[in-house]
């Protein structure tokens, strides 16, 4: 059913040292019954869009907060571009651009004033600052509203400004916490496009997300975190391959008749068949052989096939099998 193209990591160099490396990272909050992070070891390759997936309370935000320098780890160490985030905090912070989940901006200031303020706080001054402000306004498509107070902006505009403030100092690494949660599809698409552009320019991107399709569309590498532990991590392709599935998923142009489920179940090799509107799912021990027979059965209905996928699992299936939690919980 997945008809989106796999994200291409054009800047990824497997031989390059990881841009972020966490070793045995632990964090326990005062009064908490269990650790928010429990011996997290993580390698984020340089030049990729890295997605961090996990259910609510899994430890994603805690991990991102430690990477950003907002929280101190209870134990363990993190190196960003080879620098320790505790002992070389200043150097590390210059490399990072952080985009919080909620727009971290001053509503009483205009977009330009926000950008100028955060730019100066990043140590940018003079003409360079003006160049960067203009570039960020262009990137965020905020030129028309640059002198309006942000409190009058729509949610989508605030998210755009939130994003470009994180880019004001041209960071090498961009960290985003749920960048598209609760925004309209247009703004979501806008942010995805900008992230792809940044990746193409060589920016390493680390983002947490709840949205499986977003991760599949954007991320090259994935880490799944659950109950404070990294359950799995690796390239998206490798992850999907590792959970190779014996299922065949298809989507038809129109819903087939209910009797079609019986037709599918009678195909030799089919273990189970499920019909849900225009989509159906067939489980089998031999997907390649069964797929031929399934295609034949579809042809007999006279309803065109929209998509057919077999051999690999969806990210959601991977996630569910590893965490036993629905992703959008």
């Amino acid at each position: 059913m997945n008809n989106t193209s796999c994200p291409v990591s054009g800047r990824f160099d497997p031989a390059a040292p990881p841009v972020i490396e966490a070793e045995n990272l632990c964090k326990t909050f005062k009064g908490a019954s269990r650790a928010a992070l429990d011996s997290v070891t993580l390698k984020i390759p340089r030049g990729v869009i890295f997605g961090m997936l996990g259910p609510n309370g899994a430890g994603k935000t805690t991990l991102l907060s430690i990477l950003c320098g907002l929280l101190k780890p209870s134990s363990g160490r993190v190196r960003v571009d080879g620098k320790d985030i505790v002992t070389q905090a200043s150097s590390v912070k210059r490399l990072l651009g952080v985009v919080p989940q909620e727009p971290a901006i001053y509503p009483a200031l205009t977009a330009r004033e926000n950008l100028e303020y955060f730019g100066r706080m990043q140590g940018i001054t003079g003409e360079h600052l003006q160049v960067r402000v203009r570039e960020c306004l262009r990137l965020g498509e905020l030129k028309d509203v640059e002198n309006q107070r942000v409190e009058h902006y729509s949610g989508g505009y605030k998210r755009r400004l939130n994003l470009v403030i994180g880019l004001i100092h041209e960071p090498q690494i961009l960290i985003l916490d749920e960048p598209t949660v609760a925004i309209d599809p247009h703004s979501r698409s806008f942010i995805h496009q900008r992230l792809r552009e940044l990746h193409a320019r060589g920016v390493s991107i680390v983002m947490s997300t709840h949205q499986m399709d977003e991760a599949e569309q954007l991320c090259h590498h994935i880490a799944i975190i659950n109950q404070g532990k990294i359950v799995t991590q690796g390239s998206l392709d490798a992850l999907l391959e590792s959970q190779r599935s014996g299922s065949i998923q298809a989507q038809m142009e129109q819903p087939p008749p209910p009797s079609f489920q019986g037709v599918l179940q009678r195909i030799p090799g089919v273990l189970e068949a499920y019909l849900d509107g225009r989509c159906f799912l067939v489980t089998t021990d031999d997907p390649e052989q069964t797929a031929v027979a399934v295609l034949g059965a579809v042809k007999l209905t006279g309803i065109p096939l929209v998509s057919l996928k077999f051999g690999t699992a969806s990210l959601e299936q991977v996630f569910l099998s590893l965490t036993e939690h629905p992703l959008e919980q």
């Binding site: 005062k30 950003c68 320098g69 907002l70 929280l71 101190k72 200043s90 912070k93 210059r94 990072l96 952080v98 919080p100 989940q101 909620e102 727009p103 971290a104 901006i105 001053y106 509503p107 009483a108 200031l109 004033e113 303020y117 955060f118 100066r120 706080m121 990043q122 140590g123 001054t125 107070r149 403030i165």
Partner: protein, 422 residues
């Protein structure tokens, strides 16, 4: 360091811009305290210290028309705190007199009964003639005093005592005249001095209010209200300061700054410096209004004293104390609403306790001891050192150190809380 100072200047400019765009807060900061000082200094003018005008209007109903009535009128008229009027003829009745008091036209009515002087003279004559008390024809002369029931009991008692003293003097005068008359009749030529004040055994008592030292001199209305409302305005800034801090925390902009190479003191300084400046402007504007505007409206002029450095030190110390308190509240409060309600309630309690709303000098001794718990009381004592007791820079050092220690304690609590959250 230069880089950090530039960032501090940028933060101060940003915060100032945000504050200046909030008109309601601007009114709260500047207009309200000045209005409070003007209104309360004028309204409470007669409730504090020296009063230039009469406080107690008094009507004397002199039905006698003799020496007793004249003595009473002249004695009270000589006191600047009384405005004495004589009732016309015919004398108003009891109901009209009561109405005059209840309507607030007079605080006191003194009634000298008809024939009082003659009756007094007859009685003195009989006493001088050694008539036994049981056989005296004329009873004691009874003057009456009606008073405003809303007036404090101690004021009524003091006026009653003053009237008794006046009548005692009249008694002495009449007795002397009678003795002189009797001696003359017996062939002795004795002339009593006409100016009795020069022959008094005890000199007249004079009040000697202290103008220096650390005694509880009672301030005038403006001496009390100007510093009191300056301090209250300064401490009330903890409300917008703590709310602004929490909002910034909730909006995530504080966290965003933490992800940058911005030292904590720059973030803190950028946030608090504009409030410090506002505090100083509040103090200067209130003092200027008290010195130059209040007299134009009929109020007392505030004498700012001769120690501008002492005022500057107090203003800075009080502002730092208020800012420290605001930051501590912001660190411990969970929401902006919680911070606003807690800080405003606490400041009002500190103000009530610290002699801001009710002068410490008129509090009972036990409450005066409790007042020393409030940092606003320390600040007020410092200002009163300068305005009332004529103190200088060294006189306000103890109060300023107290305020600075309070500020340091609040900042320490805030830092501990902040580190605990990391």
């Amino acid at each position: 360091m230069m880089d950090s100072l530039k960032k501090l200047a940028t933060s101060v400019a940003k915060e100032s811009r945000i504050i200046l765009r909030d008109r309601q807060t601007m009114i709260l900061f500047f207009v309200m305290p000045v209005l409070f000082v003007l209104i309360l200094s004028l309204a409470l003018r007669d409730a504090f210290g020296d009063r230039p005008g009469a406080t107690f209007p008094m009507l004397v109903v002199d039905q006698d028309g003799g020496e007793v009535g004249k003595t009473v009128v002249s004695a009270f008229a000589a006191n600047p705190h009384f405005r004495v009027e004589r009732a016309g003829h015919p004398a108003p009745g009891q109901a009209a007199l009561e109405r005059a008091i209840l309507d607030g036209r007079y605080r006191f009515v003194v009634i000298v009964p008809e024939g009082a002087t003659e009756q007094a003279k007859r009685r003195v004559g009989e006493i001088a003639a050694n008539v036994p008390p049981a056989l005296l024809k004329d009873p004691s002369v009874q003057l009456r005093m009606l008073s405003d029931p809303t007036l404090r009991t101690d004021y009524r008692s003091m006026v009653s005592t003053a009237l008794a003293v006046i009548l005692h003097g009249e008694e002495m005068r009449l007795s002397g005249a009678q003795i002189e008359k009797n001696l003359r009749a017996m062939g002795y030529a004795l002339e009593l001095p006409t100016d009795l004040t020069r022959t008094r055994i005890f000199a007249e008592m004079r009040d000697e209010p202290l103008r220096s030292g650390r005694l509880n001199a009672i301030p005038s209305s403006v001496q009390q209200n100007a510093p009191a409302w300056t301090l209250l305005a300064m401490f009330f800034l903890t409300v917008p300061l703590s709310v602004s801090f929490i909002k910034e925390r909730e909006q995530g902009s504080l966290s965003r700054l933490q992800t940058m190479s911005v030292p904590g003191w720059v973030v803190l300084g950028g946030k608090t410096t504009p409030y410090f400046v506002i505090n100083q402007i509040q103090m200067v504007s209130i003092l200027l209004v008290s010195v130059y505007v209040l007299p134009l409206l009929g109020g007392d002029r505030l004498d700012p004293g001769h120690a501008p450095l002492a005022l500057a030190l107090l203003g800075a110390a009080a502002s730092l104390a208020a800012i420290g308190f605001g930051i501590a509240v912001a660190m411990y409060a969970r929401t902006a609403e919680q911070a606003a309600s807690f800080s405003s309630a606490t400041v009002m309690i500190m103000a009530a306790l610290g002699g801001i709303l009710v002068p410490k000098a008129v509090m009972p001794p036990l409450m005066q001891q409790f007042a020393t718990l409030s940092p606003l009381a320390w600040g007020l004592d410092g200002f009163l050192d300068v305005f009332v007791r004529g103190g200088g820079l060294m006189d306000v050092v103890p109060e300023s150190l107290g305020l600075l220690a309070f500020s340091a304690a609040c900042h320490t609590l805030a830092v501990l809380r902040y580190q605990n959250r990391l």
